[in-house]
Amino acid sequence: MSLLSVKNLQVTFNTEAGLVEAVRGVSFELGRERLGIVGESGSGKTMTGRAVLRLIRPPGRIMADAMTFDGQDLMAASEAQMRALRGRRIAMVMQDPKFSLNPVMRVGAQLMEGLRQRDHVSRAVAYAKAVAALDAVQIRDVDRVMEAYPHELSGGMGQRVMIAMMLIPNPDLLIADEPTSALDVTVQAEVLSILDALVRDRGMGLIFISHDLRLVARFCDRVLVMYKGRIVEEIAAKDLLHARHPYTQGLLNCLPRIGGTRGPLPGLDRNAEWAM
């Protein structure tokens, strides 16, 4: 049985400037595996992830024929039931760590907050868990980072703090929105191996949202390619770099390559028909 099942998900924003259809009929099943979502900016990747957690702010609306997580109907769940799921069983690493961390609260306090409030563990235990989580994401100088404010961290450190924060409660499903975009390749490899271990050993489900196609091809099992709120292609990750769909091919062609010519990179030709 699948962990998460989404049928015909739609997210619309009834804004003053008109109706924005951010997600238009997305369906997928997720087992205990690594599912990648790629697509250009504004294609609805983030909104798809947030909709699963029902974290869309008004005027946004979520509609779906069905959305179930581990047998529980997410569309019918009460707000209190959703709160119990969020963070504990389904966690999401937000796209912009600077935006998601509290700028005037120490990193350590933010990491321990959930543990202290949700799980009522003692301060010492919470501290130890927070330190272990930072260690796991390859932070040097853990003691200093626990005491630091978010602006005292580098871009990549902030991102790793976010990942650590989401992994502390051992979620069953992790939605990671561009979790490694600010990391160098070696640290990125370490972080990915942590996620990989969680999927393999603990059977966590992972939705990995990214614009780095080569990374997704290497790391995920299955990939959804999104364009203008729709899935235009679903493909096994190992075949992603040889995708047939012209949109996916276009995205791949935009990438620079080591040792490539330094002429202008090709742009992306968008075809209105793909959005149909």
Binding site: E16, A17, R57, D96, F99, P103, V104, H151
Partner: protein
């Protein structure tokens, strides 16, 4: 008519405004549309607008002189023909007094709005932006002011300055800036390390320009929200001072003063104290609802992403 109005509304929704003015108006219009969706906020706005209209048109609306006494008509109950809210112990029409009283209330509110938040904003942003000893000194001063209950500090100030409306306003303003300084400082701390502030510093901007042009606009929404939410408190403090005889002096129709005058016969002639009390209640409620609505529209975290 419909043609004209629809072209206006497209002009006001234009995603690519052609001028600075238009872009401001578009933003204001979109905020208004968002505000309009909140019925409670609309009630708050209606009450606030009604207060303004009442005070502007008081001479036209009021059936009687609010000060002239008519001892033959003392303590008429509400519903008496010609005095639908009744009269007080000097035979003055309560409705007329409430209408004229709204002018005093509005006057106090405006003077406080023009002083306290400005002082608080300046002190808070300067403290937050520079940090270090400047922050320490300014915040200790703020703490000292915050340590005293507002009404008691205002009482002490009025006792020193002498009773009267202007002194009451001064006392209220002097006691109500510290929370704005706190709010502004907290907001400044969250923005001062951001990249857009670094960017403008890098362009050679001095501290004045950064604080005025870049930090203050970010603090303004939270301060404005705080102000509207505090307005009820200001009105109550002013009424309290009036009630204690330290604010506006008789025979001026100030609402607090009117309650104070009516308390002597609260049990027999309940309406004398109740009518101005209701007025204070409704206006305070109105400002609170307005503040809640503005929070949804102005909060920087709710617009944009």
């Amino acid at each position: 008519m419909t043609m004209a109005s629809s072209s206006w509304s497209t002009w006001l929704r234009e995603p690519n405004p052609a001028s600075r003015l238009q872009s401001r108006l578009v933003q204001a219009w979109l905020s208004w549309l968002r505000f309009r969706r909140n019925p409670l906020a609309m009630i708050g706005l209606a009450i606030s607008v009604a207060l303004v209209l009442m005070s502007i048109f008081a001479p036209l609306l009021a059936p009687y002189d609010p000060i002239a006494q008519a001892l033959g008509n003392r303590l008429l109950p509400p519903g008496t023909p010609g005095h639908w809210m009744g009269t007080d112990d000097f035979g003055r029409d309560i409705w007329s007094r409430i209408l004229f009283g709204s002018r005093i209330t509005l006057y106090i509110v405006l003077l406080v709005i023009l002083t306290a938040p400005v002082v608080g904003l300046i002190i808070g942003t300067v403290a937050g932006y520079f940090g270090g000893w400047i922050d320490q000194v300014l915040m200790r001063i703020t703490d000292i002011f915050l340590a005293f209950p507002k009404l008691i500090l205002a009482l002490a100030l009025v006792a020193v300055l002498g009773p009267g409306m202007v002194n009451a306003v001064l006392a209220i303003a002097l006691t109500s800036w510290p929370p704005y300084a706190r709010v502004a400082r907290a907001e400044t701390l969250t923005v001062r390390n951001s990249d857009y502030i670094a960017a403008v510093k890098l362009q050679g901007a001095g501290a004045m320009r950064v604080i005025l042009g870049h930090v203050m606009p970010m603090c303004l929404p939270s301060v404005i929200i705080r102000v509207t939410l505090d307005m009820a408190g200001v009105i109550l403090t002013a009424a309290g001072l009036g009630f204690l005889g330290l604010g506006v002096q008789p025979p001026m129709p100030e609402w607090g003063l009117m309650i104070s005058a009516g308390r002597k016969f609260l049990f027999e002639q309940w309406w004398v104290a109740t009518m101005p009390g209701l007025a204070i209640f409704i206006v305070s409620l109105g400002f609170n609802l307005l503040g809640d609505g503005l929070r949804d529209v102005l909060d920087p975290r709710s617009s944009g992403r």
